[in-house]
């Protein structure tokens, strides 16, 4: 796959929440991109680092995470192809968390200068990036409610609902089944659960006939039931398609 393909991924992602004009799309597709491959479980940017570039997830699954005192990891967010999870590094220089790969991943580095020049010339592109970070903040709010208040089965169900909805929005799922390249310890780290607890509750969700999770693949068997358990309402993802359907 080449650079153009990955920049199309960026445009597709931005367009899930922001309409773009052809001219704006063309300029985004001309951004300079330096591709780099990472094995699974590697840091792309570490806490404390100062960078002069931001990274576009080209292929694979990337997460933000922090390690607490006793060595436990909290996964803070999951990032799919088309995301620029450190776009904020344009304006806040020092990383306050780690950005790492959960699968083998290809990342495209874009110099800050290039993004800055583009956003200064095209305010709607600046708004699109701004909107991305606002949607991200909305996702964080949902995760906070989940970790703080939802039961373990509800948290797991919510992660599945959110993941497949995001995958569908960028064209990587038909809404019924998608790749879910997360191990059970990784899901547990995202939900603030112990792995054994997570295994036990995931089994209950499977036995209730809501989903099938097998060899890195998630299949939804009962969407309504899963949404009910999760109390999932996709409004917080602010997807344009979903809004226009209403």
């Amino acid at each position: 796959m080449d650079k153009d393909h990955y920049l199309h991924g960026l445009v597709r992602k931005l367009e899930t929440s922001s309409p773009l004009q052809p001219e704006e799309r063309d300029h985004l597709l001309r951004l300079p991109l330096i591709l780099k491959h990472f094995e699974s479980g590697h840091d792309i940017v570490s806490e404390g680092e100062r960078t002069k570039q931001c990274c576009l997830v080209a292929e694979g699954l990337v997460c933000r995470y922090k390690i607490v005192g006793d060595g436990q990891r909290q996964i803070l967010s999951l990032h799919l192809p088309g995301d620029i999870p450190d776009i904020h590094s344009l304006l806040i220089e020092q990383m306050d968390h780690n950005l790492g790969t959960l699968t083998a991943a290809t990342v495209g580095f874009i110099p800050h200068e290039a993004v800055r020049a583009l956003t200064r010339s095209y305010y709607r592109i600046a708004e699109a990036f701004w909107r991305e970070t606002l949607v991200e903040a909305a996702i964080y709010r949902e995760w906070m409610v989940g970790i703080g208040r939802r039961s373990a089965p509800s948290r797991i169900a919510h992660l599945f609902c959110e993941f497949i909805t995001k995958m569908t929005a960028i064209g990587l799922s038909d809404g019924r089944t998608c790749e879910l390249p997360l191990t059970q310890p990784e899901i547990a780290d995202a939900l603030g659960l112990s792995t054994v607890h997570m295994n036990k509750k995931l089994r209950e969700i499977r036995q209730a006939g809501l989903v099938r999770v097998r060899s890195n693949k998630l299949t939804i068997l009962d969407w309504k039931g899963l949404c009910k358990l999760a109390e999932f309402d996709p409004d917080y993802l602010h997807l344009r398609d979903a809004n226009s359907k209403k």
């Binding site: 792995t195 054994v196 607890h197 036990k200």
Partner: protein
């Protein structure tokens, strides 16, 4: 890694774990049992003033290697 099975007991209700979880050793399994118990406890409020939650850990040969119980008694 060896596989451990975490069966739970809530009063008279027993839930068997027939899939298990791979963990490095017995000590990790014991710690995981305690973590599971504290996680389950967080989700569950007793109906009355008494609750007994237990996790029983068995190895793949079916031998019990650990049991940890949480009692709640309100007076």
């Amino acid at each position: 890694m060896p596989r451990y099975f975490f069966h739970t007991r809530d009063g008279d209700h027993i839930e068997m774990d027939d899939e298990g979880t791979e963990l490095p050793n017995d000590q990790a399994a014991k710690n995981a049992a305690k973590e599971l118990l504290s996680g389950l406890n967080r989700e569950k409020l007793p109906n009355g003033d008494h609750m007994e939650l237990a996790v029983v850990v068995k190895d793949s040969a079916g031998a019990e290697i650990y049991e940890v119980t949480l009692h709640l008694d309100g007076h």
